[in-house]
């Protein structure tokens, strides 16, 4: 894992002091809320329905045990004893007092963490694959790139007042576990003639106009990625729309100019940028890479496990993924217990996972965009012990990628922009489909819920997506089918008129029943939908 050197640490420390100063000026009445707002937003502090919300960055989703433990301590000390893991590989605290915020940032800084650029119209936390470094099929570990870009984007002098927020993802496998093409810029590492570089996708995003990012360059060598991104961002900063915040994301610029024209402008800017010496030397990427070099795995380990306990076997089949190193496994920890709030974890659960990471996973863990956690380096021989501890803490749900592994945004329970409550709906669905064999029968089925059109819950990318809308003052839920955030990325289609909360649960049951009737050998829900199209599903729901 990356460790800060004195440069990184002093920047984060200075930021804490700067924010402490700004907060004191606000509390003393020297700054008005209007003046303070842009400053607090640059530090991830939002004012929500009931309290301040603080969003902490988890760069590329990687944490050490010590960092995780600190997140739990903060939840216990400053919040109501829990934290919320989000689709952006961030952690949100929902019940923060303004006067405490500088102290929280100071505590985070002691474990090399921060909330810098977790909101505002700047380059946000860089996301990556939760299996980075441990999946067998990756070209290279994408995280050194992500760390290089984290540093490059931190307080970028030219790109801090962009037309709108800007999200970058970096992946390196054919399997896209990060919704890479739904980011403003997505990088996919590839290898060409023995050199590593990136395919660059630009103009993806969700919100009210969802778009899957098109490819704009098939290879940028690693030692030119910074100057190429500067070119992409400069074109956007200059020409992205600023007249209407709903049309301000880069996806609209790329769409309005056309991909070819955007590409042309970027290439022209890049030809200029690459003469300016903006790229760190290869030694810098090598320096960062050294931190991510595989840990010291043991060899000759036992590769089989005792499956005699059926509950354990069920969990293994669902939650454990193949590791590149023989004798090791990747453990997915579900934050979607039956009837629970997706992505929420209590301070005690966070502390337990920190301990498990230290004891069993070479002191490393990951957070995923599906609001779950991962222990990336677990010995097969330790799986049973881990499962028992998770089970005692209510963390042994076996539902990865199943219908109850629901993504949901905070919705009207917390969010000031919401039209509808996402959490109670997620809870109802989780109860309705709780039976383990039914879930297993339905197979991979990604349900994603957003409480308004901003799409924080990725509903456009759900195999089944639900969007909360306001219909004459009453909460109403629109259903969409056929979206995907994976390598086969697509945007879901709305089925038709919306439903009440119970109505949408019934409708989802109907579409899943139709799938079970109609599916062909080996088809997931998404495949059946793609083969049959919307019509039969619509009939099943409304007919």
């Amino acid at each position: 894992m990356y460790r800060y050197d004195s440069y990184d640490q002093s920047i984060v420390d200075a930021r804490v002091e700067e924010f402490r100063d700004q907060t004191q000026r606000r509390l003393a009445g020297q700054l008005t809320e209007d003046q303070f707002k842009p400053l607090r937003l640059m530090n991830g502090l939002y004012l929500q329905l009931h309290a301040y919300m603080l969003r902490v960055a988890i760069p590329y989703g990687t944490l050490s045990g010590r960092q995780m433990r600190k997140l739990g301590e903060i939840a216990a000390k400053y919040d109501r004893g829990y934290g919320h893991f989000t689709t952006r590989q961030n952690l949100q605290y929902n019940w923060i007092k303004l006067a405490d915020a500088p102290d929280i940032l100071a505590e985070l800084a002691t474990v090399e963490m921060h909330a810098i650029q977790t909101s505002g119209n700047c380059i946000r936390n860089i996301s990556s694959d939760q299996y980075a470094g441990v999946s067998a099929d990756e070209v290279a570990d994408p995280r050194p790139w992500a760390e290089l870009l984290r540093q490059w984007s931190t307080f970028h002098p030219e790109f801090t007042y962009l037309p709108r927020k800007f999200k970058i993802a970096v992946i390196a496998s054919e399997d896209d576990r990060s919704a890479m093409r739904l980011h403003d810029i997505g990088l996919k590492l590839v290898s060409r003639d023995g050199r590593t570089g990136a395919e660059v996708y630009a103009g993806g995003g969700m919100g009210r106009t969802p778009m899957v990012a098109p490819l704009i360059r098939d290879f940028v060598p690693e030692d030119e990625i910074v100057s190429y991104l500067e070119a992409c961002l400069r074109v956007y900063n200059r020409y992205g729309r600023r007249d209407n915040k709903y049309k301000a994301r880069i996806k609209i610029l790329v769409h309005e100019l056309g991909v070819e024209e955007y590409k042309r402008q970027v290439e022209e800017e890049f030809a200029h940028m690459r003469t300016l010496g903006l790229n760190p030397p290869t030694e810098e990427l090598d320096r960062i890479r050294a931190y991510f070099a595989g840990p010291a795995y043991e060899t000759g380990l036992e590769d089989s496990i005792d499956r005699s306990d059926p509950a354990f076997a069920l969990w293994v089949d669902r939650q454990v993924a193949a590791h590149k190193q023989p004798g090791y496994a990747i453990v997915n920890i579900s934050l979607k217990p039956r009837g629970g709030i997706p992505g929420d974890a209590s301070a005690e659960q966070i502390a337990l996972v920190a301990e498990l990471a230290e004891q069993y996973s070479l002191d490393e863990l990951r957070v995923t965009h599906a609001q779950n956690l991962v222990l990336p380096h677990v010995k097969m021989a330790d799986l049973h012990a881990i499962w028992q501890k998770l089970d005692e803490a209510g963390l042994a749900e076996a539902n990865l990628d199943l219908i109850t592994d629901i993504i949901a945004c905070p919705g009207l329970d917390y969010c000031s922009l919401a039209n509808a409550r996402s959490i109670p709906l997620a809870q109802k669905l989780s109860e309705r489909f709780a039976a383990a064999d039914r879930q297993k029968e339905l197979g991979e089925l990604k349900v994603k819920i957003s409480g308004c059109i901003n799409a924080c819950g990725h509903h456009h990318a759900g195999h089944i997506g639900v969007l909360g809308v306001d219909r004459k003052g009453v909460e109403n839920f629109q259903l969409s089918l056929g979206g995907s955030g994976a390598e086969d990325a697509s945007v879901g289609q709305i089925t038709g008129p919306g439903f009440s909360e119970d109505g949408v649960v019934d409708a989802i049951e109907k579409v899943t029943n139709l799938y079970l009737e109609q599916r062909e050998e080996g088809e997931r829900f998404l495949d059946t939908y793609r083969r049959l199209g919307m019509k039969p599903f619509k009939e099943a729901i409304y007919g």
Partner: protein, 146 residues
């Protein structure tokens, strides 16, 4: 309170700045003002006769002027580059990094706040045209000169 802030040696431009349109259309002016959304590159053929470029920030959140400034400096402009309009104290450092060397904010700035902002961060991650050595250069002094 600070109404005008300059980091230049000696005189600063006094002449009223004209619009880009009148400047490029045969004006003898040596001072021009760029509005957000205007293309700074239109000035590139005329840089040698310019002594002051003002870049207007209609709202602090409109970041187009940062690109305009960097473009001018990257093209070798040596004259005064002044940020005017809704310029806040928390933006001065980033603006300096993009090449601005004078500031005339709509609302005067607090002296102490300016001092604090200027000395808050010792080091920077990015290379720009301001001549500061980025952190990556300091980390690799053998490979990165200058």
């Amino acid at each position: 309170m600070v109404e005008f802030l300059s980091f230049r040696e000696g005189e600063t431009g006094q002449e009223p700045a004209v619009t880009v349109e009148s400047f490029t259309g045969q004006s003898n002016s040596t001072a021009v003002r760029i509005e957000a959304g205007e293309d700074a590159r239109e000035l590139l053929p005329h840089l040698d006769r310019l002594s002051l470029v003002e870049v207007n920030f209609p709202a602090f959140g409109d970041g187009r002027g940062y690109s305009a400034a960097r473009i001018l400096r990257e093209a070798g402009y040596q004259g005064e580059l002044r940020a005017v309009g809704d310029v806040l104290v928390d933006q001065i450092v980033a603006m300096r990094r993009c090449g601005f060397d004078s500031f005339r904010p709509d609302k005067a700035l607090d002296d102490a706040a300016v001092e604090r902002a200027l000395h808050r961060y010792d080091d920077v991650y990015q290379k720009t045209i301001d001549g500061r050595r980025p952190i990556w250069a300091k980390r690799h002094p053998e490979t990165v000169n200058g």
